[in-house]
Every structure is written in structure tokens, then in C-alpha cells.
Amino acid sequence: MRQPSARRRRAGCLFCLPGMAFLALFLAYPLLYNVWTSVHDVDLGQLLGGAERFTGLDNYRTVADDPAFWHSVRLSLVFTLSSLLLQFTIGFALALLFARPFPFNGLLRSLLLTAWLLPPVVSGTLFRWMLDAESGAYNALLEPVGLSHDWLTDPSTSLAGVVFANVWIGVPFNMLLLLVGLHTIDPQLHEAAAIDGASAWQRFRHITLPLMRPVSVTVLLLGLLYTFKVFDLVFVMTGGGPVDATRVLSLYVYEVFFTSFRFGEGAAAALLLLVVPLLAGVLYVRRLRREDEAPTGGAV
């Protein structure tokens, strides 16, 4: 490849400027402002007067000393991991199903997608109604088999109720991406393996799964980013309750900010909320780079 001339490179930079300006204004500035806030003592009274005091890491210490913070971290992890696991397995199973031709395949697939297209506030509200202990649809179904339950108002099951809704939202998205991935696998590989006497399970285990790795990693990463920062769905369904059974990290941050008006501590907690997705993102980018650098030999 020819090296671009200096002039062309300068022109290239020029084209980047609007994007850079956008990022600086809407990403870097708020982020830096948040970092600044997190090392100052800021409450409502000080906002106007500009009397914020530099407090170093005090806010981080206060947050780390708060059992409610760690409780919400645990909830976020449980919520994220269980959502990802269920979304992914169900999504994969459905992708395998929809990869085969059958009548109404396309129609069903697009119907399933509407679940993902709905705003979380809408689906959250719907699930709150459907899981309602007295008038909810699920209990009407479960009543005859004696399994009806106060899903969202019992602290021991409310998180499960929210995970259930989140999985329902996430499955179609997982399915769609995995389905695209399945289509990229050369059918000849399966045919050859079948001729060699490989069973369906062996073909899935040794051909489909390894070839689906890159797609799966992407799907899981996107799921992680979306699920770890979930706010609207939980807020609408339970508001963090009952007691604190569904107060995931984002709701904790929200409450510190907008209920207690402790902006410094809220900013510190918000930065900690950023850690997990950031780590995941870094790992992913490094992995991608390694894959790019790896010599690409044959198909497998």
C-alpha cells in the first residue's frame, strides 16, 4: 500500500475533527467532570456557592464503607450473570431452530424481534402487570398447578422476576446475532463431517461451537454492557424494592444522586459502575487485536 501524502493525512485529520469535538464534548467532558465531582464534597447547597471542598478519596472510602453499595454490586453481578447465561443459551437454542427452514420461519423471527424493539419502560411495565400477584397473567397460569406467587413483592423472588423480564427482552437480540453467525458457517463442513460419521451432537460440539466463538464473545460482551448498566427496566418493575432486593448498582447510584443529593459520593459510585464494562471492553479489544494479528490459514 502507498503511504498517504502528508497533505492527505492532514485532510484526514480535518475530517476527524467533528467526531473528536463530539466525543470531547459529550464523552470526555462529562467523564472528567464526574471524576472532578468524585473527589470533592458536593451537595445541593454547595452547587450554587461554588464552595466545593477537595476531599481526595474520601467519597470513594465512604462508598466502599457502605454495605448497601456492596449489596448492590452483588445484585448487579447476579443480575448480569444470570441474565447473560439464560439469554445466551435460550438465544442459541432458538438460533439453531431458526437456522433450519420451516414454514413461517421469517414471520416468527420478526415477531420475536419486537420483544427487543420495545422500550424497556414499556416491557417493564407490561411485566410488572403480568407478574402482579393478584391480577397478573402469570399467576393465572400458575394458579392451577399451585405455583402462583407474589413474584415482585417477595424480596426472595423479585430479582428473579426482573431477570425473567430481562431475559425475555434479551433473547431475540442474542438469537438474531447468533443466527447471522450460524449462516456464516460453510454447510460443506457439516456435510463432510456427516459423511465421516459424526453425530449431530459431535458436529455441534466440534464444528458449530468453535466457529461460533467470535460471534458469541461479541454477543456476550454487548449483553454485558447492556445488562450491567440496566436501570429503566428495574426502576419501572420494582423501583429497587421490596426493601433493597433489586437495588442494582445503577439504582444505588441514582439514589445517592437524586434522593440523598450526595453528588460527590454518587460520582464516585458511578465511576465504580464504569469499571466492570470498561474491563470487559478492554479485554475484548485486546482479544480482537490478537485475532487480527493471528495468521489466517485455512477455514478452520
Binding site: D43, L48, P242, F258, T259
Partner: protein, 410 residues
Amino acid sequence: MSYSVDRRGFLRVSGAAAATAALGLASCSSDTSGPVTLSWWDYFTLDNFQPGMNRLIKDIEAGVPDVRIERRTFPFAELERQITLGAISGDLPDLAIVDNVSMNTLGGSRLLADLTARVDAWGQADAYYKGPWSGCQVGGKTLGIPNNSNCLALYCNTRMLEAAGVEPPTTWDELAATAQKLTSGDRYGLALSAIRTEEGVFQFLPFLWQAGGDLDSFSTYGATALAFLDELIAKGSLSEQCVGWTQQDVNTRFLNQRAAMQINGPWQIPTLKKADFDWNVVPLPRDKEAATCLGGENWVVMAGSKHVDKAWEVLEYTQRPSVLVPYLVSFGELPARKDLADRGSWASDPALRLFLSQLPLARPRQYGAHYAEASQAVAEAQQAVLTGSASPSAAARTAAKKIDKALGEQ
């Protein structure tokens, strides 16, 4: 001081001296010359509030010389947050109508203009009920004027009570007994909101006060109040689901006749008037003392406003009976002023009258800048007990620690 600088006069003057003078004038001449536009925020977004609000604003613009109102509305939960964000960005209104409980957070923040001197000169403080008025006092200063008031009372389904042969309860013991008698099938004796927000706390605090306690004695009296509610759930007279119910949900239960009694406010009356059964309202049952919680809104002026004088003039104007009564009637709200007790629809409507009669008992949630955290602790204690995850005394002790910490910080 009087300045008479019009635009031409301003243009005639030239040089640096003029610029300095103009800068000086810009800040203090605004109240004396030309119409002033006051920005105004509130959270009355529902359709049924608009005619009353539009009329009020027209009234103000016609009655207060040289004033124009530019109104913006936010959803209920958004207003306080917008004011907070506005404090950061410098985008704040001149006037706002805020929930009376917001005085806790906003009051200690230097965001609100101190109206004390103006109110003293005005001399009408005595015309207000004690609760609503003291709800506008923070740290010895007057930071607002009550806009309207409400409180909680007990709604009863008349026919159900008659069928069960019971009278509306007046004490806790009677409430428990009546609620139990009225419970049958999928019908609960009592419905109330115990949701994990200020709404649930609003409904819980009367029980705490009736038990003879307050937030500073929560470990003792909080336990009493929590145990009473816990007992109602244990006996099946109150649904455990109430930990997820808003007051609107509670009213729906009552309307569907799936609750024989409910604790709710006067804002439900218009909806209940359309019900096809008879109901009445009685004061909240008492224990050691009678108590109910004060709700409603206050008018406040922002400290950063360039037109505090004009804004105060507007507030003063709205307190004239000829302006205030039609406004409150159209909102279906109660006046915070004693001298209006015999005017408006609340003078004749028995349900509104009952609520009005409870206003002198209604206590504001006046606990200072860190009330929100104390309130959150109360809400969580209530939820823990009602969902059976903690005993009343344990939950009350845990909450008391958080409350003492929050309230001790001021």
C-alpha cells in the same frame, strides 16, 4: 432610586462610562421599567389541571402590573431533579410550585429566596393553618407560601360496613377489628400504600405519630407502628402486596371493591364520585394521639432570580380569595388558609369538609436537609417488616440508626 433610561437615551450616551452605567442599571432597573417575564415551573402535567392553571396565570397577568408568566411543567418526579440540575447549569426559574416535602432538600440549599421580611411586612401569616405554614419555615426563615394543602384520612365503603354491622373505626384497636371483619374472599379490610418511596412514608408517618413517637424515637415507636401493620398483614386484613402499591393503586383496589377501607387523600374524591357505591370519609384512627400527614405544594421564589420583588408581588396577589378560591376549586384541592374554610366547594362537600377539618392536625415532614435519607430508611423498614424479612423491633432499630445519622448531620 429612579432611573429613566430608554433605548434612545441609552444610545445617546457613549464611551466606557456609559457601558459601566448600563451594566449597573441592567441589574436593578428590571423591576421598575417595562413588563417583566417570570419563568415558572411546576409539575401539574395532567389535563384536568390545565384549565385552572391557565386561568390562574391569566388572572395574574391581568392583575399584577407589567408581568408575564412563562410556564414550564415537568413530571412529578422530575421537578426537584430539574431544579437540582438547574442549579448546576444556572438554568432556574423565578418561581416554582414544589411539593411541600421538597422544602427539606431545597430549604437548606440557598436555592430559595428568603421571603421573611416581605412576609412580615405583609402580615398575613396568621391566616394559614399551622401545618402548611410551618412547612414553609426553614431555619427560622420563610422560604415559601403554601399553594394548597391535603392530608390523609380513612375512606370507608358504606355498604360493606353496614353489611358487616360495624361503625367506621376511631382507634387502632377498632381499625384492626373492623378490618378483620371486613376481610373475606379476595377482599381486604384495609388498603394502604407502603411502596418504597416517599409515597409509602407519607402513609406510614401518621402511624408513627399516632403511636406517640416521631423520627427521633423511631426504635421505640417505629417498632410499635410497624408491629401494628405487621399484625394486620398476619391476620390477612391488609394485603402484603401493599409494598408495591402507589396511592393510585390503593384507590383502584377501593374502587373495585376489593378493599373495604383505604387510607388516601382528597385528590381521589373526583374519581370516587364516579363510583357506583356509597362511601364516606372519617379521620384516621388514633392511638395515643390523633395525627395525619400534611401533603400539598408550596410556592417558592428562587434566590437567583433577578425579579424577586415582582415574584413576591405575584405570590401576594395569588393569595387574594378572589384568585385563590377558583384556583383551588378547579384543582379539587384544599386551601391552606383558615379564612377560606367557608368558601369554595370544600364548604359544602362533606368529604372535602372532613379533610379540611383534619388540616389543623396535619403535620409537615419538616426534618431538614437530610430528611430524604431518613425517609428512605423508614421506607425500607416498612418493606422489610411487611414482606416478613425482619421483625418490627429489629427493622425499627436498623432504621433508627440510619435516621439518627441522617438527621444528626444538619
